[in-house]
Symmetry: C2
Subunit: 269 residues, 2 copies
Amino acid sequence: MRIALLQCLPGAADLAAGLARLDGCATAAATSGATLLVTPEMFLTGYAIGADAVARLAEPADGPAAQAVVAICRTHGTAVLYGYPERGADGAVYNAVQLIDADGMRRANYRKTHLFGEVDRAQFSAGDAPSPIVEFGGLRVGFAICYDIEFPEVARALALAGAEVALVPTANMTPFESVATRLVPARADENTLFVAYANYVGREAGFTYCGLSCVVAPDGTDLARAGAGDETLLLADLDRARLDAARSRVTYLRDRRPELYGATPGEDA
Amino acid sequence: MRIALLQCLPGAADLAAGLARLDGCATAAATSGATLLVTPEMFLTGYAIGADAVARLAEPADGPAAQAVVAICRTHGTAVLYGYPERGADGAVYNAVQLIDADGMRRANYRKTHLFGEVDRAQFSAGDAPSPIVEFGGLRVGFAICYDIEFPEVARALALAGAEVALVPTANMTPFESVATRLVPARADENTLFVAYANYVGREAGFTYCGLSCVVAPDGTDLARAGAGDETLLLADLDRARLDAARSRVTYLRDRRPELYGATPGEDA
């Protein structure tokens, strides 16, 4: 599976503008042969736009913006994982990502479970469900959003639930570059899975995003890595052979001792 | 607390020789102002010496070799964490480390819980207890051995049990350099604790040890780092102020969502 990882400036708090930009990026992704475009966190509306704007722009996972993304996916024949503010059935607003495939099917939706600092807590409610795992492009794919992936438990739970790829839209700012350079590769390595981490560059509401978007192989090495400051569409091929080679060489997932430190839900201790 | 981390060639399968070498290293550590010397895994006898030699050299945690280490600690007024083959009361042989303080008190003993490959499995039984946490030098100290620290659960459990320092004797070989350069710094960073990782250099039984011993600060940056090939005594000061600064800035330990991925024993989910 070839994925296209978008590293870009944060957009305006404007759904129409966000959808137009997504359409352009999906065109570029499809042209490059990618079957999936992965955007940064809250791509459709910008991330640090404030609680009022988030509340105004939030929509259900099957709302008008999602229907517009369905049309984009069908038009270009490419899948999209995009970040957006989700209005839950409970009325709360979540920091969410949704995967829509090339046929326009809504395949997965995930709400950020670990809120980061005041910027997240002022804007969002925390999700209370672990990521779904979906078959996509011949691999089992799970999701995390930004701060989520900094917790080793999150990637471990994904791997134990069967994920072979973790797709991670983010809005990671200075001085936290080491998340992109140290923790994300560690997550791939210690779980023998692919991790795709799509970040912003530039500034938004006092934050300076640090780029360094990457696709990391299941042995922890970079398949593709963006710089700290440039907008780019990063391409990487996620090959099952590379996954299988890592999992035959490195046996962390089999060598755990859950009886010593607690089982993950669904796992026998 | 100043620690001295020993990076050295593996020794011979000879307790007297191992104790003589330990005495020399303790002299050097004390001279440098260190209050604690940390050796690589199985320092007293060498690591990959085979099941027969391990069985022949294994002693209880309070056996003659331990008494000799007690004398070394008292003579030089320095504490020692050393690796050795432990003969359990059950008759089994464990890959263990023991902390003896400058007064000659046996403060902690830990048996490796995650055995690595055939080399460990042929020589040792796996420990079944998490690391003790002991107050030492004004900090709470826990232990892991080599492969243990590659599991994020291990360092997380140490931190949640109150550890502020993880002392990690190891015998890490090529091509696994990324454990020293990526995973060990990640463990420090994601748990906001000090990690001291003491490795061998040189060859033993077909393995080439990769050095890169390090002391990593609670923000994931190196306090000290050895090269890949040289014997050295690495010095580092573990300051509480540095720990406190990291823990006030980075709140991973408070922001976990154990209800989503399982609690660690003793923790409420």
